[in-house]
Symmetry: C2
């Protein structure tokens, strides 16, 4: 019960004391003392010495979106389960912010980084590689590290089939088509969703007209304008509308709100992504719900080292939710 050296104390406090074959007595004594004094390690000091911070970062576009919100929630849980301090940072689909955020996190010596929905995953990936920070891409793929993404193509095919099967013939040729609204042409996910949409249409209808694809961006206002323009020129709603995601859908609703029940029910709607309230609108909306849990489980399997040779690109299917 005399003095105990700092190294012994350290070993006891961080659980490595079994290996040092420290006596249970000493261990218990120190543990009790620590508890009494409410001792907590200084993680910065520990991190500095051991060059492992115990922190894991995730960058993602925004907190104000149900899909990314769920991502953050699941990430939080999985990090905690591994005794890692989760750090989520939003980067607003801005490449400069993505890099700045990653730099900052690396500067804090995070142990891992999950790059979720990054506009430029490879710029971030290179930063990580240079600094020996293991990382995984989620939601959007990069070349620098394994990527786990939703099977957007497959999801889009499902949704398009649903649109075709549930929709009805419309009076004019232009109105008798399905339209895709939202996203941006250069975006990976947008591209796959459009591919799934286009190929399904082409296969089942025979042709597809360039006008049917209307990539007007990710925000609501642009989508409202787009659908307004479209329906004005068509003279009414078309056969069906495929929204790129819930935010373009939200914009669309601002216009659809002005229409009457009868008009609305001539058209069939779907969107990628899911929002609980989209099930309770005046008309059914078919949705795909991305599997946040599945994707992050895979990401963590790689981080945990349980998946030594991960494939470069792993696809995870979304759930398909029928409207009404």
């Amino acid at each position: 019960m005399g003095k105990t050296s700092s190294s012994t104390v350290s070993a006891i406090l961080n659980g490595t004391w079994q290996q040092r074959r420290i006596s249970e007595d000493t261990a218990k004594r120190i543990l009790d003392l620590a508890q009494q004094h409410e001792y907590r390690v200084n993680r910065q000091a520990r991190g500095l010495r051991s060059s492992r911070s115990g922190m894991i970062g995730m960058i993602m576009p925004t907190h104000e979106d149900r899909y990314f919100g769920t991502m953050a929630q699941v990430f939080d849980r999985m990090a905690r389960q591994r005794q890692l301090q989760p750090i989520v940072v939003s980067t607003l689909r801005d490449e400069t912010l993505e890099i700045a955020a990653a730099r900052s996190l690396i500067s804090y010596q995070i142990d891992y980084l999950i790059v979720c929905g990054a506009t430029n995953p490879d710029a971030v990936g290179q930063l990580c590689t240079q600094n020996y920070v293991p990382h995984v891409n989620v939601d959007l793929p990069g070349k620098e590290a394994p990527s786990i993404i939703t099977d957007s193509y497959w999801g889009a095919v499902q949704l398009t089939n649903i649109l075709l099967e549930n929709s009805h013939k419309q009076p004019t040729k232009a109105r008798d088509r399905l339209y895709f609204i939202g996203g941006i042409a250069g975006d990976y996910n947008t591209k796959l969703r459009i591919d799934g949409f286009s190929e399904t249409v082409r296969q089942r209808v025979g042709t597809i007209h360039p006008d049917q694809i209307r990539t007007c961006g990710f925000d609501a206002a642009a989508s409202e304008l787009e659908i307004t323009t479209l329906c004005t020129s068509l003279g009414g709603l078309p056969r069906g509308i495929f929204f790129h995601s819930t935010t373009p859908l939200e914009g669309g609703l601002r216009y659809l709100k002005t229409l009457d029940e009868k008009e609305l029910h001539r058209c069939v709607f779907c969107t990628f992504d899911w929002n609980p309230f989209a099930s309770y609108l005046r008309f059914p909306v078919h949705m795909t719900q991305q599997d946040a849990d599945g994707m992050l489980s895979e990401a963590f399997r790689i981080i945990d080292g349980e998946n030594i040779n991960p494939v470069k690109l792993q696809l995870v299917r979304p759930r398909v939710l029928l409207g009404e």
Copy 2:
């Protein structure tokens, strides 16, 4: 252009070199060199030495809610503006998790903590006080630190008035009443919302019956059950329903979905909090949108030291959004 001591380099790199009156030449030389080598400070080492980590934490209940999502987004932005690393952690309205998360953050020597929507803000507050971590409560008040919260009472009064003004007489006495659904009785915000509701009803209608208050929790399933039971016993919808927040509203919608247009339009609905999709349902929903920006601005004014003597409890009014 010979050797330069570490202290000089340090001063140059962290911007304190003006005070040390280091020559521009040396400074420039070092800065260039640092850039060339892509040098980044090790924030753990800096933090250990300077006992300031440059990190700011925020704990909040969940990422899967639009209100808290906005909180996180605004927090992120404001932290970044101050060159602080934001760390958001969700604690699921679980006191144990709140304390564990705060402990973990403190262990990393965060410079400040924002305690947002904590079930037990004072337990967290004491932890902060003991460890000299300045903190502010947001969304729910505590005794340990200044609190900035939404004026729930005022918001509830506004919503209740809107319900009364827009609703119509119903066939039976029990149905000719307004009902409050969701929240939990012990919760501070629930209490104020109920107070605002009750007092307005009492003032304008004369009486209020205990059955009109149905605090069935924060989740959707409980609320669905509650509204189903209520309407079954009433034999239809009442005059108006005040949902505690958007998640109980979501549960309510599962039941309301089964009703026809005519029945729905006999009842008027409102909810605390805001969700973009709630504006596009089959009936109008009146909402209050909490002022995340306003609350966090105040929180940061305190953190920045611009508000030396903050009031213990500061109320921020929500925006009132009329449905339809």
